[in-house]
């Protein structure tokens, strides 16, 4: 890929930092995740975003 094409890309090139693998399997923002799950539990989701497993 040419540099000018690369600069136009919105998806960023991400530098991987192996040190961050230490977080794998952990939830750093536990209370916030709990709050988010509670909010979505009672929410009426947009119909187009409900996964139809049928």
């Amino acid at each position: 890929m040419k540099i000018n094409e690369l600069n136009k890309k919105k998806i960023p090139l991400v530098k991987i930092n192996k040190d961050l693998n230490k977080y794998k399997g952990k939830v750093l923002f536990e209370k916030k995740l709990e709050k988010a799950n509670k909010l979505l539990e009672r929410a009426k989701l947009p119909s187009e975003l409900i996964i139809n497993k049928g």
Binding site: P12, K18, Y23, K24, F29, K31, L33, A36
Partner: protein
């Protein structure tokens, strides 16, 4: 995004991101996390300061480092990175406090035109329903999905 952003690094599955906010209070390490929610394909977006002294994350602190727009633009950039790898992900975000939820709303509003080129954005209203995001409306949470092209 029209705002400058910080360089960041990520774990190899792109669920965790780290960057340094540099401002009037010095350097503050920030962490962004996408965690799986109870609903399939839904992820919770959370970010906050990493307290190096206590070795813990704080998502309630108001940092006031004078760079909130740059921080939000950086977090928004991680949404591009994350959905680049997980294009079907539905990302939910809510602030740990009302102030932070308003900060998220401001971040979306400031970049709405550009965000909507690539994402569908919804706001969760007080009555627990979602609508297409409208600038200026009050929301308790936000849902973002990548547009299918």
């Amino acid at each position: 995004m029209k705002f400058k952003k910080y360089e960041y690094t990520a774990d190899d599955e792109l669920h965790f991101y780290e960057f340094k906010s540099i401002g009037i209070k010095g350097e503050i390490k920030k962490v962004v996390e996408y965690s799986k929610m109870n609903i399939e394909e839904y992820y919770n977006l959370a970010f906050g300061d990493f307290d190096e002294k206590k070795n813990e994350i704080n998502d309630k602190v108001v940092t006031n480092n004078g760079d909130s727009l740059k921080v939000l633009a950086t977090v928004a950039s991680t949404v591009y990175a994350f959905t680049g790898k997980y294009p079907d992900a539905k990302i939910f975000a809510t602030g740990s406090t009302e102030v932070r939820t308003r900060l998220y709303r401001m971040g979306i509003t400031n970049n709405l035109v550009e965000i909507q080129e690539d994402f569908d954005v919804y706001g969760m209203k007080l009555n627990d329903t979602f609508e297409e995001f409208i600038a200026g409306e009050d929301y308790i949470g936000f849902l973002i999905t990548r547009k299918k092209k």
